[in-house]
């Protein structure tokens, strides 16, 4: 039972859910009624897992400090909404040959479109920023995120500052966690290979990596594109979960949220980052009572963890997806 098992599960989860609920997007979970509130948190947690795991390949494995993840998420969210909401009727008519499955089919297409648009944005940011390192790269990616946000804010056809409402609620628990597992599988298996050792080599020492024949430029762009692709998927899922997106929802603060998950979980540890993403989503809800002190608690948690475990929750512990022919 190799790591491919995870791929199988994620595809199965998505397949099952889309099969069971074709034409019933309002249903969310195959086990009948689940507490709506809990369900929503679980979906949000899944989306956060996708975001954190995908940012981890850029910030954690490849060691490039990106602060623009919310930007890629926005591209995915608006990109997918273009298909299902803005031009929804047109596309649905085109897909009418699918019968009852047409809305689901369109949703799948819009997810893909969100991911691909975001990946293209990742390529566009990755290529010019490659000459930059550390803080400088962080500033450029931060700027990119803001540019995206402001551009959307000023594009009337995307709803401008008012946002885009009435996005069909297709996102279910199955879709979210199916894609989460897919993201975990993809990042995990990319990194756990001879090919993937290149990402880690770039992080550890760029000059040595180049000298050992690792094309650092190619690896950095790849990390950006893969990270952006999944951030786009997460954005698309988010848009079809909330149903209403505004540019403000993809501000710099959202990027910071994801960075915090990655740092808390442990840079480069897929398992740790997953745990941190779920944990922080739930903590966020648990602290809803103490509204105004929530951020204080977050900051305290971060400070305490950085003092006691600077490598993050699970950073430096065993590898993810060890598998048969896997690495030590």
């Amino acid at each position: 039972m190799g790591p491919r098992f995870l791929l199988l599960i994620s595809v199965a989860v998505m397949g099952l859910v889309s099969f069971l609920f074709t034409g019933h997007p309002e249903l969310s979970w195959p086990l009948g009624q689940v507490d709506d509130y809990l369900l929503n948190i679980l979906i949000l947690a899944g989306i956060n897992v996708i975001l954190a795991v995908s940012l981890n390949i850029v910030n954690g494995h490849t060691g490039q400090f990106s602060l623009g993840h919310a930007g890629f998420m926005a591209v995915g969210a608006y990109g997918s909404a273009t298909l299902t909401q803005i031009n929804g009727k047109v596309f649905l008519a085109d897909l009418s040959f699918l019968g009852n499955a047409a809305p689901t089919g369109l949703f799948v297409l819009s997810l893909l479109a969100g991911g691909v648009f975001a990946a293209l944005a990742g390529l566009a940011v990755g290529l010019p920023s490659l000459r930059l390192k550390g803080d400088y790269l962080a500033i450029v990616t931060l700027g990119f995120g803001e540019i995206i946000r402001v551009m959307i804010q000023n594009t009337e056809s995307l709803g401008g500052a008012r946002g885009l409402a009435g996005i069909p609620p297709h996102t279910s628990l199955g879709w979210t966690w199916g894609i989460s597992l897919l993201a975990i599988y993809c990042v995990g298996s990319l990194v756990n290979s001879t090919y993937g050792r290149g990402f880690l080599a770039v992080r550890d020492d760029e000059i040595a990596a180049e000298a050992m024949g690792v094309n650092t430029t190619r690896y950095k762009v790849t990390a950006f594109v893969v990270g952006a692709f999944f951030a786009g998927l997460a954005g698309a899922l988010y848009a079809h979960f909330i149903g209403y997106i505004t540019p403000e929802g993809f501000s710099f603060l959202k990027s910071v949220d994801v960075v915090v998950m990655v740092i808390l979980g442990g840079m480069g540890s897929t398992a740790g980052v997953t745990v941190a993403a779920i944990g922080l989503t739930f903590l966020n809800e648990a602290l809803r009572e103490a509204e105004q002190y929530r951020m204080v608690a977050f900051a305290l948690l971060l400070i305490i963890l950085m003092i006691t475990r600077p490598q993050g929750l699970l950073g430096g512990l065993g590898r993810w997806l060890p598998g048969k022919g896997g690495k030590p």
């Binding site: 080599a201 050992m212 024949g213 690792v214």
Partner: protein, 258 residues
């Protein structure tokens, strides 16, 4: 013996500083050549030129007849030039084995999609690379520590691991930048044996930058001497030892009776 590396009137300037000036130099196949000179003479800069870290301001660098100046470091490594570093640059978060595995990247057949799909061909290649890496480590006596983090190795072993990692790229020319730095006399003797062994076993040309004269004179077939970025002498170890300009460069000019 055919020629492997050739430098023609290579000059590099950093602002007003001429770090390497009009150096002509060559290394033939299977040769063990030393490069010496006082501190700041431009030896490491010359390495960085050959490996593509810097591009020459003027002049040409050819490897097997093909120009390498202007290429990426990784592309030059792909042509068959590997190096070690003066101050050790291992991949510190990786194990000893993974350091070597990472250097197999160059000859990898299954890339991005192979790693994602993890099919039979991918798994076979991964297993084969692992075997090759382990047997390389075995040759250099590092197999027992294959799974330990490389930063926990003793200094001498880290130097050896750098050589193993460079060999994993299957080079024709190996550049060693001060491999004996910080070693004690016993380790130095061991190192000399190791360099000769590597050269013969892997049929390599070796270009060695070294301050330790015992090591350089002991193993090099030919030595070039740099001073202030210029090549001031070249010849066999015994010729170099007698060369007036070299003695002057290291010890200063003889002064006529005061």
């Amino acid at each position: 013996m055919s020629e492997l590396l050739r430098l023609e009137k290579v000059t590099v300037r950093f602002g007003g500083l001429v770090a390497v000036s009009e150096v002509d130099f060559h290394v033939a196949e299977g040769e063990l050549v030393g490069l010496i000179g006082p501190n700041g003479a431009g030896k490491t800069t010359l390495f960085n030129l050959v490996t593509g870290v810097y591009t020459p301001t003027t002049g040409r660098i050819c490897f097997e007849g093909r120009a390498v100046d202007g290429l990426n470091s990784s592309a030059i490594t792909g042509m068959g030039v590997a190096r070690t570093f003066q101050n050790i640059r291992l991949f510190n978060s990786l194990t000893v084995l993974d350091n070597v595995v990472a250097a197999f990247n160059l000859h990898l057949k299954s890339g991005f999609f192979g790693a994602l799909w993890r099919g039979a061909a991918f798994r076979a290649e991964e297993a084969q690379i692992r075997e090759e890496a382990l047997s390389l480590l075995e040759i250099f006596g590092l197999r027992e520590v294959a799974q330990t983090p490389c930063r926990s190795l003793p200094y001498g072993d880290q130097r050896r691991l750098e050589i193993v990692r460079a060999l994993a790229t299957r080079p024709k020319l190996l550049l060693l930048d001060e491999p004996a730095a910080g070693m004690n006399p016993t380790e130095k003797v061991e190192l000399m044996r190791l360099i000769r062994f590597t050269q013969e076993r892997f049929k390599l040309a070796v270009l060695l930058v070294e301050h330790d004269m015992k090591v350089v004179m002991g193993i090099c077939e030919r030595i070039a001497v740099l001073e202030y970025g210029r090549k001031i002498a070249e010849g066999t170890p015994s010729e170099i030892q007698k060369d007036k300009r070299v003695i002057a460069a290291y010890l200063g000019e003889e002064v006529a009776d005061a």
